[in-house]
Symmetry: D2
Subunit: 145 residues, 4 copies
C-alpha cells in the first residue's frame, strides 16, 4: 500500500478553497489505493480523511496525545505519540509524496522535515519555498503517485 502524507492548517474553514482541495485530494488518493497519513486533527486533516473515507480509503492519524481523543471522525488508525508538536516529522517521514495545502507554522515545520528527508513536496496555497512543486488542481497529484 502506497502511503501519502497530507499536511496543512488545523484552523482552516470547511468553506475554504483549501478544505475543498484537500477533500478532493483525499478522494483521489483513496481511488488510487493510497493510504492517507496526516496529523489526524481538524481543518485540512479532517478534509483529506473525509474525502478518503467517502471512497473507501484508509486513513492514519499521527496524533499529538497519548489517547488520540482529538482525532477527527474520519481517522481509521490512531497512532498515539504523546509527542505534542514533536510528532510532525513522523507525519512526513511516513509518506511520499508530501502534499501541503495552506498551513501555518506547523506546516512549515513539516515542509522543512520533508526537505531534510528528501521527499517530493507538492504545494497548494502554502508556504512559498523553493523546491516545492506547485499544484493547481487536485488531479495534479496523480502524476506523483
Amino acid at each position: 500500500m502506497k502511503q501519502v502524507s497530507v499536511i496543512g492548517g488545523s484552523q482552516i474553514s470547511p468553506f475554504s478553497d483549501e478544505y475543498k482541495f484537500a477533500y478532493e485530494v483525499g478522494k483521489l488518493l483513496a481511488k488510487n489505493n493510497c493510504v492517507v497519513v496526516c496529523g489526524g486533527r481538524t481543518g485540512i486533516m479532517e478534509a483529506v480523511c473525509r474525502g478518503a473515507k467517502e471512497e473507501g480509503g484508509l486513513t492514519i492519524g499521527i496524533m499529538p496525545s497519548y489517547e488520540g481523543s482529538e482525532a477527527n471522525q474520519y481517522v481509521d488508525i490512531k497512532i498515539n505519540t504523546g509527542l505534542s508538536w514533536n510528532r510532525n516529522p513522523i507525519i512526513v517521514a511516513s509518506g511520499d509524496p508530501v502534499i501541503a495545502i495552506g498551513g501555518n507554522y506547523g506546516t512549515l515545520s513539516e515542509i522543512a522535515y520533508s526537505f531534510i528527508l528528501g521527499k517530493t513536496i507538492l504545494g497548494y496555497k502554502t508556504h512559498n519555498i523553493e523546491g516545492i512543486i506547485k499544484i493547481e488542481k487536485p488531479e495534479d497529484v496523480l502524476r506523483y503517485l
Copy 2:
C-alpha cells in the same frame, strides 16, 4: 477498528514457543477484526504480523528509522519515526490491550510505558512484574478484546 499492541523480543527464533504463540495471536486478532500494532521488526513482531496477514488482517509497524526499510515483510503500514528506541512508548500508546510475549529490555521499557498509560497488559513468558495478566494460550487474549 480496534487496535491491539503486541510487543516482544526481536531476536527470538522462529522455532520457539514464543514465536508460535505470537503467530497464533496474530491470526486470532485478525479474525476478530483487530489491527495489529507492533515495532515492525523481526522475532515476535514478524510472527504476529505474519499470523495476522494469513487471516487477511491489517498490520502497523512503528519503525525506528526514517525510511522503514527494516520492516518485516508482513507489515502493511510503516510509521517511520526516526526515533530509534524512543519509539517504544508510541507502540503501546497505540493499542489496548498490550500483549507481551517473551522479550528483553526493549520489551521491559514498553511494559513500563503500558503501566504509565494505564493499559491492560497480557503476558506470555515475559518479565515477571506485578500487574501483568499471565496468559497461557493464544485464545486467552479473546477475553480482553
Copy 3:
C-alpha cells in the same frame, strides 16, 4: 564535566529515607565535580538537585513540557522537551552511571532504557531487576564515578 543521571519517584515524601538518600547523593556528586541530570520535577529529582545546589553543583532538568515551568527550584538548566513521558530515555542517555532511588513505572522505564543503552545502574530501594548494582549508603556511588 562528568554527567550522572539520577532517577526516582516524583511522589516521594521529603521525610522518607529515599529523599534523604537522594539529597546526600546530590551533595556527593557536586563535591566530586559531577553534573546532576534528572527529570527536573519533585520528589527524588528535587532532593538530588537540592543537595547538589547546597554544595555549589550544577543541575540539569530534562523537562516534560515545552516551558519547563514544572521544574523544581533547584534546577539550573531546563531542557524543555515537550515530549511528556517520552523524555525518559533522554535522562538516562545523558549520564553514566544512572542512580535509581525508589520509583515507580516512570523509573522502571528509565531502568529499561539504561540497560538498552549499556549504562551502569546503581539502585537504592528500587525495582528488583537483575543487573542493577545495589547500594546501601550514598557514599557507595563514589566507586562508580
Copy 4:
C-alpha cells in the same frame, strides 16, 4: 541562568561571515551570563560554543545520538537524545531568544518550531520569513537578552 538558543548550518566554513558572527555572539552571550543552547555539532554550533568558552561561558549541546560523540569540543554538557533530526524542537524550546545564523532545512525546522512556541527570533543571513527580527551586528543581540 538565562538560556539562549543559537541555530544555523552545520556545514558552514570557519572562514565565513556566519561563522565569525556566531563566534562573536557566543562571546557576548558568555559575557552577559547567558548559557548557550545549540545542536552541539559543527559549523555555527561549533562557532558559538567556541566563542562562549573563550569567555568562560557554559555551553549545552542537544545531541542527535544516544552517545553524544558527535559533539564539538566546545560543548560542556551533552544532552543525548537519540532522536536524530527530531531533536530540533528541543533546541529552540530550551532558550529564548532564538538566534538563527545562516542555515538550511534543519534551521528552517527550528525556525518553524520557534514560531510555534512563541519565541523571539533574531536572524542573520538566514531564511527570509516574516516575523524574524533581522540583526546586522553581533551586538544587536544584547537588546533581546
